[in-house]
């Protein structure tokens, strides 16, 4: 029998269906793997007892012939999703002991589909960061290492724990959330698939809010097919989220294994961002060639305002965050600090509860929303957002999908960028534009750098066209044939 932690979700489903192994066996294998990999710090909370109970219940259902779409599959959940009766911290001191009495809509669907929950994964505090170094519970370590040195590398962020756990074979798949790239960027850094669906596909209800007009949940897996399988059990209309979409849900797996002959793939030259690793640009060229070899036509598209997406994002996201995080007042839940007056209790609670990056973003957001600056910054950014969304719409009148790099660099070492704010923010330069426009995007591992680190390519399609996204991503994955694994350094 193959190593149970090496299976894809699709393989595990088949093995469970054929009785080759039980959910209990595959769950135990993952619990053992998690215990052996605690140095990665990928989990904030491990839930082995819950996982074994889930697995036994799944095996019982299977014996009775009634299984769901994720039945018996050991999966990890980003600690930004509220899970009933299980600590949900957002990797913040503010919510350190928070135990939700309710379940997020996305994880509720996954529980209904029979998921086995292994635990809650580490993230940048309140999902604010691109390296998982802002977590109150310490940084996560990327299981990959460079050939050239032995330094520990960041897994990317904010879904860094999920990415690290999937890459290190600690779970079959994990949930992530993506506000400006928090699924796609860590997926690229860790050599896995990370997919952000169209804004509105996954309910935001019960996910700790960062920037509500951008936040979207999605799957992080080792294959494109696995992402399609997992996404199917995460999406769906939810009356509890006012921006939840009522669009029909397609069968995402149905698009896999189809050819892409005649599809037009847009190549936006504006993504040749200054400072991008030349190896990534070469990989992008290779990706274009793969899709052409598969029968698609590469077409130049122009998205001239791409460079303004990141500065617009760093106005809009902090503005929404400053408003969303106003709820942490120390009264109804979360941390409460001492103080001589009500005002002091608020101020001390929020000073103690929030880390530096979260404090900085709340202050930035408060600044751009304050009297006298609102129009100059916040409204200006929303106008630029509109222009960026319109540029994508225009491009999708002529192309079916857009191919870009997922990130401007491979994973970097801990501490390497933490002193330079703007350099850190630049990590999201390739992923933020699609976030502002609410479009689906996927990062597919496509190659290794000369230093032995994984690099991802990103595909973007028009809103609610995840079918084309999966169809092209599948071909890209087959062409790239990425089989490298972390820890196989020569």
């Amino acid at each position: 029998m193959a190593n149970l932690t090496d299976l894809t979700i699709a393989e595990a489903q088949a093995g469970l269906a054929q009785g080759e192994f039980s959910s209990k066996e595959i769950t135990e294998a993952h619990i053992t793997a998690i215990e052996a990999a605690r140095d990665l710090n990928a989990f904030v909370t491990e839930t082995p007892e819950r996982a074994l109970a889930d697995a036994e219940a799944s095996d019982k259902r299977r014996a009775e012939g009634e299984v769901g779409a994720l039945d018996g599959l050991p999966i990890a959940i980003k600690d930004l999703f509220c899970t009933k009766g299980v600590k949900s911290t957002a990797s913040s001191h503010m919510l350190e002991g928070f135990i939700p009495p309710y379940e997020s809509s996305v994880t509720a669907k996954m529980v209904d589909a029979g998921m086995v929950m292994l635990g809650k994964t580490n993230l940048d505090e309140f999902a604010m960061g691109s390296s998982n170094e802002t977590s109150y519970f310490g940084p996560v370590i990327n299981p990959w290492k460079r050939n050239s040195d032995d330094q520990t590398l960041v897994p990317g962020g904010s879904s860094g724990g999920s990415a690290s756990a999937v890459a290190a074979r600690l779970c079959l798949g994990a949930t992530g959330t993506d506000t400006g790239g928090s699924i796609r960027q860590p997926a690229s850094f860790c050599g896995i698939v990370g997919m952000k669906p169209t804004y509105g596909r996954c309910s935001r209800w019960g996910i700790v809010a960062f920037a509500s007009s951008l936040d979207q949940a999605g799957p992080m897996t080792r294959t494109v097919r696995d992402a399609a399988i997992m996404l199917q059990s995460m999406v769906g209309f939810d009356p509890k989220d006012t921006t939840s979409s009522e669009m029909p849900i397609p069968d995402f797996q149905a698009m896999l294994g189809q050819d892409i002959k005649g599809l037009k793939i847009g190549i936006p030259s504006e993504y040749r961002v200054e400072g991008t690793d030349p190896e990534i640009l070469a990989l992008w060229d290779q990706g274009i060639k793969w899709l052409e070899d598969a029968g698609a036509e590469a077409v130049e598209v122009s998205l001239p305002r791409t460079k303004y997406a990141l500065p617009a994002y760093y106005i809009i996201a902090p503005a929404e965050a400053s408003s969303n995080l106003a709820r942490y007042d120390g009264m109804r839940y979360g941390l409460r600090a001492e103080g001589d007056s009500l005002s002091e209790v608020y101020e001390n609670t929020r000073a103690e509860g929030f880390g530096n990056e979260v404090r900085r973003r709340i202050l930035m957001g408060t600044y751009v929303l304050s009297a006298g600056y609102y129009d100059a910054y916040y409204i200006k950014a929303q106008k630029v957002r509109k222009l960026i969304a319109d540029e994508f719409s225009a491009a999708f009148e002529t192309v079916d999908a857009i191919l870009t790099p997922a990130v401007p660099s491979a994973a970097f070492a801990h501490g390497e960028k933490s002193d330079d704010l703007l350099a850190m923010y630049l990590n999201d330069v390739m992923t933020v534009p699609a976030s502002l426009a609410g479009l689906p995007g996927i990062s597919v591992p496509a190659g290794l750098s000369s230093d032995g680190l994984p690099l991802g390519l990103q595909l973007i399609t028009k809103a609610f066209d995840e079918e084309t996204l999966f169809r092209v991503a599948d071909v890209l994955e087959q062409s790239a044939g990425f089989t490298a694994r972390p820890g196989e350094k020569a």
Binding site: P100, P311, L363, Y367, R385
Partner: protein, 96 residues
């Protein structure tokens, strides 16, 4: 525009976050850097462009029926409170 120390102190007060005096200079520097960088948006001609608050803008936000859908769960509501008494939240004195 650069953000000075007194502006940081003012927005920190608006955000209800106590910022120690010794952090103000560094924060003013950092915020000035970010604000200076986002000001490149001024290069973009946005005359006549409608600001976009959400990509779901085209859709009409739903209103649910005005009926009770939840309730009778006081224990759950209070379960994470820093301080409670007799089924109520306890908050610091509000009226002096």
């Amino acid at each position: 525009m650069s953000v000075d120390k007194s502006t940081v102190a003012r927005i920190a007060q608006l955000a209800r976050i106590k910022v120690p005096e010794e952090d103000l200079d560094a924060l003013a520097d950092e915020l000035s850097k970010i604000v200076g960088w986002v000001e490149q948006l001024d290069e973009v001609d946005t005359d006549g462009v409608a600001p976009m608050a959400s990509t779901a803008e085209g859709t009409v936000l739903r209103q649910r029926d005005d009926v009770v859908t939840d309730g009778n769960c006081r224990e759950a509501v209070l379960s994470n409170a820093p301080e409670t008494t007799n089924g109520y939240f306890v908050v610091p004195k509000v009226i002096e």
